[in-house]
């Protein structure tokens, strides 16, 4: 009878990536498979993803695709950070250059004015 109530209950568990990957690769026991499937029924995101993952011709390669995408993402983020860091380093040198130039102009102006006064 408890199972009847379970129909309307929502799966609160969040299935981790590894378990989902094992599910897709067919490595889970029937009990674990059922748990993942119950989660997918209640979770629209996962449910739609299941429909799509089902359509991949080589399901065993899914792990490789995911790793490639993750590496690409990490590389992009690292490059973006490097570019930002370089900009940060370059920015102060321009500021120092501008301050130096202004000071130099003030000194030159002072010298010129004091010479003219003499």
């Amino acid at each position: 009878m408890q199972n009847l109530i379970d129909i309307l209950s929502q799966s609160n568990k969040d299935i981790d990536n590894q378990k989902l990957m094992d599910y897709v690769s067919g490595k889970l026991s029937a009990e674990d498979k059922h748990e993942v499937e119950k989660w997918m029924i209640d979770n629209e995101f996962a449910g739609e993803a299941w429909e799509g993952l089902h359509q991949f011709s080589k399901k065993k390669e899914l792990g490789i695709y995911v790793d490639e995408l993750n590496k690409e993402l990490a590389r992009y983020i690292l490059e973006k950070k490097k570019r930002r860091d370089i900009r940060k380093i370059q920015q102060p040198s321009w500021i120092y250059f501008a301050i130096g130039l202004i000071l130099l102009m003030i000194i030159v102006a002072y010298l010129v004015i004091s010479k003219l006064n003499k």
């Binding site: 009878m1 199972n3 009847l4 109530i5 379970d6 129909i7 309307l8 209950s9 929502q10 981790d16 990536n17 590894q18 989902l20 990957m21 897709v24 029937a30 009990e31 498979k33 059922h34 499937e37 119950k38 997918m40 029924i41 209640d42 979770n43 629209e44 995101f45 996962a46 449910g47 739609e48 993803a49 299941w50 429909e51 799509g52 993952l53 089902h54 359509q55 991949f56 011709s57 899914l62 792990g63 695709y65 995911v66 790793d67 490639e68 995408l69 993750n70 690409e72 993402l73 990490a74 992009y76 983020i77 973006k80 950070k81």
Partner: protein
């Protein structure tokens, strides 16, 4: 897919870390949790493996850009919406068809669904459930019963009934939704 040293930090905490120091590193950790789901959703809509992988990369970039622009509270739902809209836009561009975009509101429905069982006492619930289950069409009743009551997997149900895995999933999903609707009708009719 390896375990990472950030597995103990939940999505919300990672988002907070990002908003605190604006370091994309945190978004990277977050996004990597959903790569497989994103790949699946993109494949479902685009039906092409290479296009699906491309779309996931675009969604990654879009996520990084958008999170810098405004605050997001529920990352998973928001990411799902971004992914779905991206795929629908891509389909619209390539096929010239008009698809309606989804909005946050639709995503919240699933989260609210769990509240129904709190309105009834357990016994009444069971009676209502039994009668409502009988009113489902044959396919949905069979799939819901085998899945929830006999705890069978999609594959086992597919073998037993002769339906495809997709039909099994759809029958369970629609059956569950119809069951809720039937129960709600019965309750509001009383």
């Amino acid at each position: 897919m390896k375990k990472t040293r950030f597995d103990h930090i939940n999505d919300q905490e990672l988002l907070e870390k990002f908003y605190a120091d604006r370091d994309n590193f945190w978004i990277g950790i977050l996004l990597q949790r959903y790569t497989l789901l994103l790949l699946g959703v993109c494949m479902k809509y685009l039906r092409n493996e290479e296009e699906a992988k491309d779309a996931v990369q675009h969604i990654f970039l879009k996520t990084i850009t958008e999170l810098h622009k405004y605050r997001v509270d529920y990352f998973k739902s928001w990411l799902y919406m971004v992914a779905k809209n991206h795929c629908l836009m891509k389909l619209r561009d390539s096929q010239g068809k008009i698809y309606s975009e989804i909005h946050d509101k639709n995503l919240l429905i699933a989260e609210e669904e769990g509240s129904i069982q709190h309105h009834f006492e357990k016994e009444k619930n069971l009676q209502l459930m039994s009668t409502s289950l009988e009113e489902l069409n044959q396919e949905q009743k069979l799939c819901v019963t085998l899945f929830y009551l006999e705890k069978k997997t999609y594959h086992q149900i597919a073998v037993e009934t002769g339906y495809t895995m997709m039909q099994v999933k759809s029958n369970i999903q629609n059956g569950k939704r119809n069951l809720k609707n039937l129960m709600e009708k019965k309750v509001s009719g009383k």
